[in-house]
Each structure stands twice: as C-alpha cells, then as structure tokens.
Amino acid sequence: MRYLVLFILCMIIWILLTFSLELNNIIVGAVVSVLTSVIFGRYFIKNTSKFFQPKRYFWFIIYLIIFLWECLKANFDVAYRVLHPAMPIRPGIVKVKLNLRSVTARMMLANSITMTPGTLSVDLKDDILYVHWIYVSTTDPEIYGLKVAGRFEKYIKRIFD
C-alpha cells in the first residue's frame, strides 16, 4: 500500500515538472517512479490511511497560513538583527521536549522550527529536540519550550499524528 501511494506521489510530481502528457514521457516517468518507490518505499510513512482523511488536509491549510505568517516574521526578525548596528543577539542552544509520537510529525516540527523566528533545530534524540536560538530571552525550560514549539505543535499533532 505504501509503495502504491509513493508511486502516485512521484508520478504527480513528475508530470508537474515535465508538464507534458505524451506517451513516451509518461512511460519514462512510470519507470523512474517504480524504481524510486521500490528503493525508498520502506522509509516512507507507515500508516498510509492518514492520506485519506480530509480532516487532515483542512488542518494542513490552516497550518500553512500560520506558518507563512511566522516565516515572514522570521525574515523581518533576522533582517532587523543583521542590519542593526549593535547586533542584538544572545545565542545559545536549548532543550525542548516534544509531545509528538510519529516520526513524520517530529520531522515536520523540526523543519518548521528551523523556518521560524530565531530558531534552528540542531539534533533530535527520541523526544528531545535541541534548538539553536539566536536570542535566548529566558532561561526557564518550560517557558522556552512553549515559545519555540508551542505555536505549531497542536496543528502538527492534528495533521500528522
């Protein structure tokens, strides 16, 4: 089942990238997609029934809007710190505990954290995420856990977990 889902995803991306519906193009795409799904299928998401729940797509769209807003804020934040003559930075690496169970959800959260203001995920050990933070405002673990991961955790839990 997961091989089939991965094959269909590869095929969609191939058709979008080449943007032609000729027969020989589709045959090449199918061969490449079969190879990809045979080699990488075992690393793919285990529970493929998640793909067929419309609720998850709905939350994904809401998450995307919030994420884009945070991403824009992140960019203005970094631009401000870079252009400010005194460079207001207080960097450090902090530990954040995650409440997510599935591997995909953790991966998405780590990627989202990398794109949000001032944070960059360094390493993921079981359910502890190490985050490099450009401006460490507090040294209280509970508060910065909320500040770093709290914004996205509930949405990602609904989408991927």
Binding site: I13, L16, L17, L72, V82, D123, Y130, I134
Partner: protein, 130 residues
C-alpha cells in the same frame, strides 16, 4: 506559446515586480548576515531563513509573470523542494559542525547540547574501535 497574461494584465506585472524586489532584498540581507554575524550557527540562521524566503519569493514572482504555464508550474513545484532542502541541509550542517568541534561564539548564553554531543562522539569512538 501564446501568453495571455503578459503585458495585457498590468496588475500581475506589478505584483511580479514587487515580489522580485522583495526576493532580491531578502537575499541581500541574508548575505549581509553571513558576513556580519559572529559564528557558524548564527550565520546559518540568516543563510537559511532569509535566503530561502528570498528565493521562494523570486520563484513565486515567476508564477505571476508567466501565469499557469509550464514555467509557472515548475516554479511552484520548486518551492517545497527548496524548502525541505534548505531546512535539512541547515540541520545537517549545524549538527556536523557541532560534532566536529566548532565552538559557539563568545556571546553565547547557554549550551544544553554539550553533554549529548560528548555522549554521541564517545559512542562513535567505540564503534570505530570495534
């Protein structure tokens, strides 16, 4: 190829130009950060965030210029690939440079990764001996 969007629809041209300028500006900020910030970790922050958004903005502006044609769709497909590529590459670079022994800058306040990094490097040494 007949392009109905180009020239006739000036609104799209304006959005195209604004997005293009924003993208170039953010790429510039990212590069200034790359020069000004003190250590590897802070530099990667500016390199991933600003440069990714700048390039995504340039790609999005292509969609407005060409409409939903071959080039526009390709630009849209490139955005998620670029996003995942940039984040995963930043993660790999940061982890690799920490385990290699690059120190955090002088201004750093807190470092909670130290113990974990020492543990994993000791594990690696044991693996090599075996």
């Amino acid at each position: 190829m007949q392009n109905t969007w180009e020239g006739k629809n000036s609104m799209n041209e304006i959005i195209f130009k604004i997005l293009l300028i924003i993208g170039i500006l953010f790429n510039l900020f990212g590069c200034i950060g790359l020069v000004r910030l003190p250590d590897v970790y802070n530099r990667l922050q500016s390199a991933t965030k600003c440069v990714t958004l700048g390039t995504c903005s340039i790609l999005l502006s292509l969609l407005f210029h060409f409409g939903f044609t071959e080039i526009g769709i390709k630009a849209i497909v490139a955005i998620p690939l670029l996003f995942f590529g940039a984040t995963v590459a930043a993660h790999a670079l940061v982890k690799g440079s920490y385990l290699f022994g690059v120190k955090l800058g002088d201004q750093s306040v807190i470092d909670e990764y130290k113990d974990e990094a020492e543990k994993s490097s000791e594990d690696k040494k044991k693996m090599n001996k075996k």
